[in-house]
């Protein structure tokens, strides 16, 4: 029983990386190199994020992806919704059969409350909140900004 699938997880990582690059776009190739995510998988994922309006993409040589929204507004729950089809911890009894009671009905109320609580906490986690907590030795964005100023890194 996992709350976060690999899709969501990879997406968070990629988005954090992109957020640190700010307006400078990164290609799938670069992200693969940096994040060690299987390339075709990452590509599909990035396309999805593009279609959902979370990333902006530019085609052609020198193209790539940038964040389309500010890091504060991209929350963990958004990604869960995109990649894991929303959040509904319950499902069965309470839908069609409308709970043939016998004392089990309260389960719905309990689970719903727990769900709301978890959801609320998950929605507090955003790209911005994650990169803010990065450790001192991960001084990446400086490097990137320096490197990107002359641009054209052809690794």
């Amino acid at each position: 029983m996992k709350l976060i699938t690999r899709n969501t997880d990879y997406a968070m990582r990629a988005l954090c990386y992109l957020a640190q690059r700010r307006e400078f776009s990164a290609s799938a190739t670069e992200l693969v190199r940096e994040l060690r995510i299987p390339r075709p998988f990452l590509r599909k994922l990035l396309q999805k994020l593009g279609g959902e309006g979370i990333l902006r993409s530019t085609k052609g040589q020198g193209g790539g992806f940038t964040l389309a929204r500010s890091p504060e507004t991209v929350r963990l729950t958004d990604l869960i919704r995109i990649f894991q089809g929303g959040i509904q911890l319950n499902e069965c009894i309470f839908k069609k059969r409308v709970c043939p009671n016998r004392g089990t009905c309260p389960l719905k109320r309990e689970i719903d409350a727990i769900e709301r609580s978890a959801l609320q906490q998950l929605s507090k986690v955003s790209i911005a909140s994650l990169i803010k907590k990065k450790r001192p030795q991960d001084r990446l964005d400086n490097k990137i900004q320096r490197a990107s100023f002359k641009k054209r890194r052809s690794l």
Copy 2:
């Protein structure tokens, strides 16, 4: 993304029903009739609960299942553990690859905290807590006790 699978859900319902019958056992046939759960599925589930020490069973004519533990001690998290293989909301990055950082590490800490919180809430839900909240019109146990009074149960 669901937190509770059908197995767990059905099990909760069955256990609530059995708890209300107190020491009087109920057969799979009766549970199927009352709870509208597919029979073979329910049977497998009951056997599992028996093996896990949550139910006690008696074979032969007039046999069936009773709770082996007090309703207070059977918690939702027990069932999740049994039917959904434990709870570990995270999984991937943080295990083998030991998180190739790049500022994404904090995700683990956040998710872990949320997981602990959800888990704590889920563990508060027990069979006892559920049947305590049953609505007045679900006066089932009286009926049962009356009906079962002549049925001398041995063990």
